[in-house]
């Protein structure tokens, strides 16, 4: 039994029960591998990650600051571009980024909010300091997993949560609904899913249920008079004022972006540009969570808010800058190199895993395409205990925190803690077969 200050903190001693329930509720994670769709069960570990109240206050402040600065950056990039003119961010990093969409130039989203839901990944270093790993400002997923796991464990042992003073995380639905209501341009809220073969379909349906938003697919939607409508069963139509879309930008409107898209809504961009519908998150956000732009976020915080960044970035080098390139080429064996165009834990290479020959090849690639990569020091992050076959073992874990920007910017007092099941792996992405645990924020 795991105890903290002589109190029981393990809500269930046997994760199997919870995992069976999760299976029954269809809590799965879909992955495409070799062209085939496979649904994977996302295993739950019963030992929670615990963050004390004082520590969380610092994290919270740092995340609010970061999300605010990123929203200001996005507004600036698609309007005045002051941060480029003032030489803080080199223009190449912005305009070469695949997430930058010229079609969004001059388009102002309702209430000027670009990233309504920011999924910010952090790790706790061995020194107890938290570091930002990456920002996810497009369609960050994962909030539903700790929500439902908490629901089930609470049912199994309700006392554990009150006795330990764990902040209730059931308010996520309210935070999300408040955000949708705040930007809604008239009409209902809806969650747009590409359908049940999507990796996060469970989450789409669960969040729709919790927030009272309509769960919709594109074949029941259309744009007329530059407004977005849902066809109703009686042959009528209902206006949609806020669309929480779980489809990426390039598939969203076949008349503006990828014309081959079968999951988009034709002329949605016209309705959005006319200010008749809020799109959550807004279009074009990929330019701000680009791995190359990450390097500049602390500078953005200073530039837009006049404050020092509270949460640190992992020490990062951009081969784009000559000085950094020299360092990277010399120290490649101990760095982690990330391809800025890849996501989901792909395109991440640890120099220490490569042979001398491969390192030499990689150096050449970096010299030829410096803009394509960033390099980071490997952070010695704190391992967390997990239960494996009844034994406690230590594994690498990160935390995805959810920041919601509406009338105010708020951090959800919970989050998705993901761990690697492979003892040697630092990559904790769920697409790479990891598991998750609940994240407890203590109220005192």
């Amino acid at each position: 039994m795991i105890k903290m200050k002589n109190r029981q903190i393990l809500p269930v001693t046997n994760a199997d029960e919870i995992n069976q329930l999760l299976r029954r509720y269809g809590v799965k994670f879909g992955v495409y591998k070799n062209g085939q769709f496979k649904e994977q069960f996302f295993p739950f570990d019963p030992i929670p990650r615990i963050i004390e109240s004082e520590k969380f206050k610092v994290i919270e402040k740092g995340l609010v600051q970061r999300a605010d600065a990123l929203n200001k950056f996005l507004f600036d990039i698609y309007h005045g571009k002051n941060i480029i003119r003032d030489g803080i961010v080199p223009e190449d990093f912005v305009y070469i980024s695949s997430g930058y969409l010229p079609q969004c130039e001059g388009v102002t989203p309702p209430e000027n909010i670009y990233s309504h839901i920011s999924g910010i990944d952090l790790v706790e270093g061995g020194d107890g300091e938290w570091y930002i790993l990456e920002d996810n400002l497009r369609i960050p997923s994962g909030a539903s997993y700790p929500l439902i796991a908490r629901e089930l464990t609470r049912a199994a042992s309700p006392d554990v949560f009150s006795e330990n003073g764990v902040v209730d995380n059931r308010n996520y639905a309210k935070l999300l609904k408040d955000t949708m209501d705040f930007v809604n341009r008239g009409g209902i809220n809806a969650i747009l899913t590409p359908g049940r073969y999507n990796a996060a379909y469970f989450e789409h349906s669960y969040l729709a249920e919790l927030t009272g938003a309509a769960l919709v697919q594109n074949d029941e939607l259309y744009v007329e008079d530059n407004m977005l409508w849902q066809k109703t069963y009686s042959g009528g139509k209902t206006r949609i004022g806020a669309l929480y879309r779980r489809i990426s930008d390039e598939y969203l409107d076949p008349l503006t972006f990828n014309s081959q898209s079968l999951i988009g809504i034709p002329n949605l961009m016209e309705a959005y540009r006319s200010g008749n519908v809020a799109i959550i998150n807004s279009l074009g956000n990929g330019v701000a969570d680009d791995k190359g732009i990450y390097y500049f976020v602390p500078k953005m915080i200073e530039y837009y808010l006049g404050e020092k960044a509270i949460l640190k970035n992992a020490p990062t080098y951009l081969p784009f800058y000559e000085e950094d390139r020299d360092y990277v080429l010399k120290n490649i064996h101990k760095l982690v190199i990330k391809d800025v165009a890849e996501a989901g834990g792909y395109g991440v290479v640890f120099g220490s895993d490569l042979s001398e020959e491969k390192l030499a090849d990689f150096r050449k690639t970096i010299i030829n395409e410096p803009r394509r990569f960033i390099a980071q020091e490997v952070i010695d992050f704190k391992d967390l205990p997990i239960l494996e076959n009844g034994e406690q073992v230590m594994r690498k874990a990160d935390l995805r925190a959810f920041v919601l920007s509406g009338e105010t910017t708020r951090v959800w007092a919970s989050g998705l803690t993901r761990f690697s099941r492979n003892p040697d792996s630092f990559v904790v992405n769920s697409s790479q077969g990891g598991g998750f645990k609940d994240t407890w924020i203590l109220s005192r």
Partner: protein, 260 residues
Amino acid sequence: MKLLNFSFSTKLTFDNYVHNHSFALRCMPIESEVQHIVNCEMSISPFVPTKITIDAFGNTVTAGYISKEHRFLDFEINGCAEIDLSKSKTDYMPCYLYQSEYTKPDKELTDFYADVSAKCNAKDPFERAVFFSDILSDIIQYEKGVTDTKTTADLAFELKKGVCQDFSHIMLSLLRMDRIPCRYIAGLAACDGETHSWIEVWDGEKWLGFDPANNCPVNEDYLVLSQGRDFGDCSIDRGVMFGAYTKQLQLITSSLTTAY
């Protein structure tokens, strides 16, 4: 300064009924410092209410939705524009400096650029464009039917054949490798009975039109319908519809004449 009467129509016919048809048209000439639209009328059949917005590139977008079954979509514009090249067109966007979907060069085009740029002594962006176009017009043959609307610059360059759209894309690719901002234009030209394509080159202060397919600077006999990074941003009509049709036929007619 010149007054031009323009008309443009397309007839889109399907071999079976279609429905839930969304469309976005970019066929209304844009208003700019050098191109003033004196009047312009548009008609669409079957009749359907439309909405007009201006997109990020400055194009006039006419959007509509036809839910009922229909077998054709016709639209027509008629009007008069005042063209005055003594004025300057200055609506700049940074994306025009970077390669886009249609203009990304492959190795052959990159090597060709290296070769051509080494021979070019001109400093002025427009003069460089003229120099590149002179060489291109010798090696690329104007020929219809070998390329289509999906053909990229590198593919057309490999074929050494193409139409105005392909000439424009190859030029844009070369100029962007040369770090000269430039953009794609879809429009009407007195010399062409259908729609024409040319480019605009940013000289540091303003846009200058150049017609690579005819290897000549643009004069006041050209009417801009839409502009963007490449053909993808400028499609005169884009649509999505449902139905059991297997073929669609599009007939385009246009005319551009001097108004007296």
